[in-house]
């Protein structure tokens, strides 16, 4: 049973190794890193939390769909807990026979993860405040956190 969520630093190389094989000549990886700015504010770090069981379930469904649609192998990891600027927050690796499939599947998987996996992010700013990120809000932000 693979876990898609991890409290440890994500090793993109190890993730890619999982889906690499001699019959798959194209490997695409995507890594999402914690940026030092968001919505015009300077970010010092952030904290991810999740509805763990549902998040695992949704990740498994996304991976399964991509593997059957593009005849490829997919590996995914999403980090939880406190992260610093530059840390890998999420990584996707796809191995396929050809690059069309590898690029399309990787792009689709990260888009689906962002749309459907129940994970939340609280950003911490250089001024000492923090806020919950809401990608659906005009400024990408709901409200200051308690």
């Amino acid at each position: 049973m693979i876990s898609y969520l991890t409290a440890q630093a994500i090793d993109v190389t190890a993730l890619a190794a999982r889906i690499t094989a001699p019959e798959r000549g194209a490997v695409v990886t995507f890594s999402g890193l914690v940026r030092n700015h968001h919505a015009g504010r300077e970010v010092v770090g952030l904290e991810y939390s999740a509805y763990d069981t549902m998040a695992e379930h949704v990740c498994a469904a996304i991976v399964g769909s991509a593997e059957s649609r593009w005849k490829c192998r997919v590996a995914v990891q999403h980090r939880l807990g406190r992260l610093a600027v530059g840390d890998v927050a999420v990584a996707v690796a796809v191995g396929a026979g050809h690059r069309d499939a590898a690029f399309e599947a990787a792009r689709w998987v990260i888009d689906e993860i962002k749309r459907h996996v129940p994970i939340w992010k609280r950003e911490e700013y250089t001024d000492g405040t923090s806020g919950w990120v809401d990608p659906t809000a005009p400024q990408g932000m709901i409200a200051a956190s308690s």
Binding site: S49, A50, Y51, M54, H116, P118, W120, K121, R122, W132
Partner: protein
């Protein structure tokens, strides 16, 4: 009447000051009824118009029926990735 436990996450856990709340509803109630009941709890007034509810780890709509042992969760806007 049926007691439903509702799991809360992230900003909603802060709004309600708890990771879980309990709501009692008549048998045959739907997700829309549950949301109405949540709105009158302390903190519930800040919920958006159409909050994301998951029932048994799948996205539900206002018309989704609730059964006594369903796993119900109220999810703030997702921000993974």
């Amino acid at each position: 009447m049926t007691l439903h436990r509702v799991r809360l996450f992230a900003r909603y856990a802060e709004l309600f000051g708890a990771e879980q709340v309990e709501v009692t509803l008549p048998p045959g109630s739907r997700v829309g009824d549950l949301i109405s009941a949540l709105r009158v709890l302390p903190g519930g007034a800040s919920l958006p118009g159409d909050p994301f509810v998951a029932v048994n780890m799948s996205q539900a709509s206002a018309g989704t029926s609730l059964s006594p042992h369903d796993e119900i969760a109220l999810l703030p806007p997702l921000a993974g990735g």
